[in-house]
Subunit: 99 residues, 3 copies
């Protein structure tokens, strides 16, 4: 069992932006992600209902685990991406269990 210090990058964004966001993420060096597609919340977007049928109004939440180096590469690109469409991003330290 091997434990590696890693960075968890969490992002909330409009569901309609997810596909384009993941493309950017992978080009920037992320090797995977976990996506929660049907959330609700309140932020810059106002109230969003998770039962909302119109995908254009829905929000998604995703996270990716990566190295500190990859995070330094990805974060400015996430900042640029989210400037153009509403969303939120935060990071934290995690210990990744390498198998």
């Amino acid at each position: 069992m091997n434990i590696v210090k890693s960075v968890k990058i969490e992002v909330i964004l409009e569901s309609i932006q997810v596909e384009r966001f993941i493309e950017m993420l992978e080009e920037a060096g992320a090797h995977g992600y976990t996506l929660f597609g049907n959330i609700s919340g309140k932020g810059q977007n106002g109230m969003l209902d998770h039962n909302c049928r119109a995908k254009i109004f829905a929000n998604s939440y995703l996270f990716t685990i990566c190295s500190e180096e990859v995070a330094q590469n990805i974060l400015p690109q996430i900042a640029l991406f989210l400037e153009d469409c509403s969303g939120s991003c935060f990071t934290s330290e995690v210990n990744h269990l390498k198998l």
Copy 2:
């Protein structure tokens, strides 16, 4: 790109309590939240199935990102809230990407 040390407050509670909880959260100074409405789990409540139809038995998970000051204001109120109904709360440090 600007990074601000923030607090992530995570809460698991009965879905039937979510509306009242969010009201309390916003009055206490939280500026947004992300809600996952259809989870399952085991805790003080016993087993909960995420396919459970009766909303009264369902659990929800939500988190909010706030400043250390707002967290100090919110946490005692969350403790009071959760004393009256079952639930769980934990916090962690995150780096919030300010756009």
Copy 3:
């Protein structure tokens, strides 16, 4: 209000493995967990759609909060478990609000 340093253990694994995983978790000393059953993502498994009907192809995400001691007991067992089936595990420090 009492705050206790704890460990959050997060796991992504195939939905078909969840039941067996939770059994192992509880035998190893975890007192609860929160389960998100319908996620999508990309990792060792390739692309998974959260609308995938076949449960055998679906992924789940779960977390548990426990003491450092329990985490030291659980993590090697998670490593063994995930060696046999695809999945991912990471941990972080959280402050658990004891009610």
